[in-house]
């Protein structure tokens, strides 16, 4: 074997039992490996199961199928060779920086002197000198995440797992922390042989990783693997860098027809069991207006639009897809275009917009039409929340059903299709 495999995932699956006895597949037969000396990126939208996969690797949850091998041994409990940096740094607020860093060493029962020596050295490496006696609440977000890194590195893990460690930080802080980490990594000053980075930030993944695995949702699965051979340090404005970013956008917005069994025409929103994102009508309108205005005038490159609006894919995609579902825009090959209906929406006043929105809802969001029909058929024109929640839970988790209903309620209210009283949890047709 020429390249050593630190981690090996074979046919790993994770599913949850649904209340009706069925199974909800979150991860579907993942094959993956982490090679010696590599930073591997797991990229995908929220809900694609990438964080779940990371937890399986960390031994925090057990897969329902397949095997995970870490340095040749099967993972059954949190392996000693793996340490994780969490999204919220998840520091113990009652422990000082030093005590937080020492935690993992104490758990190994090392001698007191060695614990202290290694902790101080890790604190030094990660640039936390002088903060040893501070409590997490006294630190800025960036400093807290540094503690998170020090806590993980101090146990000298062969494999470091990074669960969106930069996503809760502001842009500048995240950039500093990223480049500091990459410097340490490139200089070989980290005790680590391989890194897995989970992220939903495309540029971050391209800047940091040697290989990126793209995830698709419902169920979570590997959509593509993209090797990145650019030399470090990488320049974001380098055309080769931009090409890879563009390619990933295209991959992530492309919808292979087989991927979504519920969608007959390859468009989302055709089945009642589609999970709807909670996107405010204000955002939808604002997005359409931004797209209609110069410099885009109706057509935009998604990465460019995202950058201009200051949105990562987790914010950008739900909006774009909702508008696509409502046929206000078309998305193709990483480009987004206003439709005639979308242009009409932008040109209208509030009442006309509501009418257009209501029409689109009834035509393209089956759940909205379904609720409206049920309410019209019932003699009192009222129906309880549970009437629809139970129906949705045949297709999705209770949490997703809740989110979907909340989304359709907000849209239904904007389009004045139906009303909802949260105190009694009932839908109705009357509009006060």
């Amino acid at each position: 074997m020429d390249v050593l495999s630190l981690l090996e995932l074979r046919g790993v699956a994770k599913s949850f039992r649904k209340p009706d006895g069925g199974e909800l597949v979150v991860l579907d037969r993942i094959d993956l490996e982490l090679r010696e000396g590599e930073i591997l990126g797991l990229l995908g939208r929220s809900g694609c199961g990438k964080s779940t996969l990371l937890r399986l690797v960390a031994g925090l949850a057990r897969p329902s199928g397949g095997t995970i091998r870490c340095l040749g041994r099967e993972v059954r409990e949190p392996p000693e060779e793996v340490a994780m940096v969490f999204q919220t740094p998840a520091l113990f607020p009652w422990l000082t920086v030093l005590e937080n860093v020492e935690l993992g060493l104490e758990a190994r029962g090392l001698p007191r002197a060695e614990i202290r020596r290694r902790a101080l050295s890790a604190i030094d490496t990660i640039g936390l000198d002088g903060f040893e006696s501070a409590y997490p609440r006294e630190l800025s977000g960036g400093m807290r995440q540094r503690v998170g890194f020090a806590r993980a590195l101090v146990v000298h893990p062969a494999i470091l797992l990074l669960d969106e460690p930069f996503s809760a930080l502001d842009v500048l802080t995240a950039e500093t922390l990223r480049s500091d980490f990459l410097d340490l990594w490139s200089d070989g000053r980290l005790p680590t042989r391989g890194v897995i980075l989970v992220t939903h930030n495309i540029e971050e993944a391209v800047a940091m990783c040697d290989r990126i695995v793209l995830f698709a949702s419902n169920p979570g699965r590997v959509a593509a693997t993209i090797p990145i051979a650019l030399p470090r340090p990488r320049d974001r404005h380098d055309p080769a860098f931009r090409d890879i970013v563009e390619r990933i956008y295209v991959e992530l917005t492309a919808r292979p027809p087989a991927a979504r069994p519920a969608t007959a025409q390859g468009l989302p929103g055709t089945g009642i069991g589609t999970i709807l994102p909670r996107v405010s009508s204000n955002l939808l309108a604002g997005f359409l207006e931004a797209l209609a205005a110069p410099p885009f005038s109706g057509t935009a490159d998604l990465p460019v639009l995202g950058e201009r609006l200051g949105m990562a894919i987790d914010d950008l995609f739900p909006i774009a897809e909702t508008l696509q579902m409502l046929r206000f825009v078309e998305i193709e090959g990483g480009d987004i275009r206003l439709t005639a209906e979308g242009r009409r929406f932008v040109a209208s006043d509030t009442d006309e917009r509501k009418a257009l929105f209501a029409r689109a809802l009834l035509a393209f969001v089956p759940l909205a039409g379904h609720i409206r029909r049920v309410l019209e058929e019932r003699p009192g024109h009222r129906a309880p929340w549970s009437r629809f929640a139970e129906e949705l839970e045949d297709h999705m988790t209770p949490a997703a059903a809740e989110q979907t209903l909340r989304a359709v309620i907000a849209w239904g209210r904007y389009g004045e299709l139906f009303s909802y009283d949260d105190a009694t949890r009932t839908f109705g047709l009357e509009n006060p």
Binding site: E80, F92, P93, E106, S140
Partner: protein, 590 residues
């Protein structure tokens, strides 16, 4: 949180923190709504234990020699107050021990949880003085020396006033450890021992300390009651403030009553300054949701302790030993979760089995005794319960009508609220039974109807919970909301209806729930009172239990206690819990 309010005032910042609702009363905190099979088993278990204790006491009890009466010399009072306080602290230590074991067991074992949780819920609704009546003779019989037995009985009674809600709060914290910290602990392979002290105890600390201090405040009432009690032929007199008051009542000595009141006021003040506030301020550092730059609450005493070298010297070896414990635990055990051969798993199974078997046995005993009652007795007790319920409801309404407007008025004036809140809180800790003689002597002097006029005693001590919670609620109304009201010229009744009342509802309920629970407890001493030779009795369940205690009629004591517990549990589950839920969902600010 109240304690914070005081200290925030001290730090010159109200900060608008509304943490009071972070710790809802435990009687409304549990998930399940209706009664279940396990609840029934738990009820039988508690009933059975009470019966067994009573049986045990009755068989072994012998008429005690008349205790030598204490002289009413004011110079003795500091010493007596100290003994009373020591009893409280001993009970507190016991309660902590109980909390760490019982609650941990309930939180870690699904099997045990099913019985331990309902058990806790039933236990916390048993009137504390009921425990006292039943336990006194049993402890006297158990302990080698009579004085020791009496001490143990008193400490046990105080324990029952503290332990349940501490355990409840700890259990709830254990079940709500933030997922990310749990993952950190697991991924860094913390041992069970380390996890407990590094993660679980610190995380539980703010709520635990708050509940501990609240129950300790409530405990003063019961320590005073426990120091002088007569169960049948047995009279217990323990040196303390409580026995002093009992003697003063016998002697009809209002001056001595005054001395006791003054001493107790000093004790409560010191308790507030030296224990309550420093502890609550200390527990602040364990708060999980903290934002950068939020000033911590302060306590002068705590800061003095923290800066003291002596304290640092004394605690350093302790900290070192604790750390050595972590390393030792790491070397001894690997965290192998769910190991079938784990001795703890067997211990858990055995423990639950013992509980269930004991429950069955106790249930048998209880049913046997119940069968011996004439059917009318249960009806009589239930009717008495209805009378007491009526009193509790009327008093709560009256107290609310008085204290809600006052509390809102105070709460909207930060300078006043800062002074009023700690005072109301100290008043709630002040054992109201010390004040009873003043009222009772007045009722005797003016020949008032005891059925009506004894009633206010029930809520004398607990009405303050309504007041200080309402103050906290009103103080937490966001500045902008009040500005909007002023800006839109919302005034008068509209202002109360749309702004003040909705904003304080959850706070008010917290206070009202505590006040009503306290009133039930107090009814046992409030409905049957005496002044010298004069006896006043109101018809009610409290008087029923009190009289049975005097007569040493254990079957009746247990019946009365059981009926009262049934009332309290039903009211909690059918009234307060849904109401609180609704208020939480409806009136949550922000």
């Amino acid at each position: 949180m109240i304690g914070q309010g005081i200290d925030a005032g001290f730090a010159g910042c109200e900060c608008g923190r509304s943490d009071l609702r972070a710790f809802p009363p435990v009687s409304v905190a549990r998930g399940t709504g209706a009664f279940g099979l396990w609840d029934a088993l738990a009820a039988l278990l508690v009933l059975g234990v009470l019966f067994l204790l009573a049986e045990f006491g009755r068989e072994l009890a012998e008429p005690a020699p008349e205790p030598t009466p204490l002289p009413l010399d004011p110079l003795l009072l500091p010493g007596l107050a100290l003994r009373t306080t020591l009893r409280m602290l001993a009970a507190l230590a016991l309660s902590l021990l109980f909390t760490f074991t019982y609650a941990t067991w309930a939180a870690k074992s699904r099997r045990a949880e099913r019985i331990l949780l309902p058990l806790l819920d039933i236990l916390q609704s048993v009137p504390i003085l009921g425990f006292l009546s039943v336990a006194t003779t049993a402890f006297l019989a158990l302990a080698p020396g009579r004085a020791l037995g009496a001490e143990l009985a008193a400490i046990f009674a105080i324990f029952t006033s503290q332990a349940w809600n501490m355990a409840f709060s700890f259990y709830q914290s254990l079940r709500t450890v933030p997922a990310e910290l749990d993952e950190v602990a697991r991924s860094f392979r913390l041992t069970g021992w380390m996890r407990f002290w590094r993660l679980e105890v610190p995380f539980a600390m703010p709520a635990l300390v708050w509940n501990m201090m609240m129950s300790m405040s409530g405990g003063w009432f019961f320590v005073v009651a426990a120091e002088a009690i007569t169960v049948g032929e047995t009279t217990v007199v323990l040196p303390g403030i409580g026995s002093w008051i009992a003697r003063a009542i016998e002697e009809r000595d209002l001056g001595a009553v005054g001395w006791a009141l003054a001493t107790m006021a000093v004790v409560i003040f010191l308790y507030d300054r030296l224990l309550f506030r420093p502890l609550v301020a200390w527990a602040e550092r364990f708060r999980f949701e903290q934002e950068a730059g939020t000033p911590l609450d302060r306590s002068l005493v705590l800061e003095a302790l923290r800066r003291s070298r002596l304290v640092a010297l004394a605690t350093a070896p302790l900290a070192r030993a604790w750390r050595a414990g972590y390393r030792l635990s790491a070397r001894l055990a690997r965290p192998a979760a769910g190991d079938r051969n784990d001795p703890l798993v067997w211990l858990d199974r055995a423990g639950v089995l013992v509980l269930v078997l004991f429950g069955a046995y106790a249930a048998g005993t209880a049913l046997e005794t119940v069968a011996a009652f004439e059917p009318g007795e249960l009806l009589r007790a239930a009717a008495a319960g209805c009378l007491t319920l009526l009193r509790v409801v009327v008093l709560l309404v009256l107290a609310s009508l008085l204290w809600v407007p006052v509390g809102v008025w105070l709460g909207l004036r930060p300078e006043l609220a800062r002074i009023a809140r700690p005072i109301a809180q100290m008043l709630a800790a002040f054992p109201a039974n010390l004040l009873f003689p003043l009222f009772v002597s007045a009722i005797v002097a003016w020949r008032l109807d005891p059925d009506v006029w004894l009633a206010p005693l029930m809520i004398l001590g607990t009405q303050w919970y309504v007041l200080f919670n309402v103050i906290a609620g009103a103080a937490a109304i966001p500045r902008e909301l009040r500005d909007v009201a002023t800006n839109l010229r919302v005034g008068g009744w509209l202002w109360w209806r749309k702004i003040a009342l909705p904003a304080i509802v959850p706070y008010y309920l917290t206070g009202a729930i505590t006040a009503s629970g306290g009133a039930w407890n107090a009814s046992i001493v409030a409905e049957l009172a005496s002044w010298g030779g004069e006896r006043l009795e109101a018809r009610g369940l409290g008087a029923y239990i009190a009289r049975a205690t005097e007569d040493g009629d254990f079957a009746r004591i247990v019946l009365g206690v059981a009926v009262m517990s049934a009332f309290v549990v039903s009211i909690n589950r059918l009234f307060w819990r849904p109401l609180y839920r609704w208020a939480e969902a409806r009136f949550r600010l922000g």
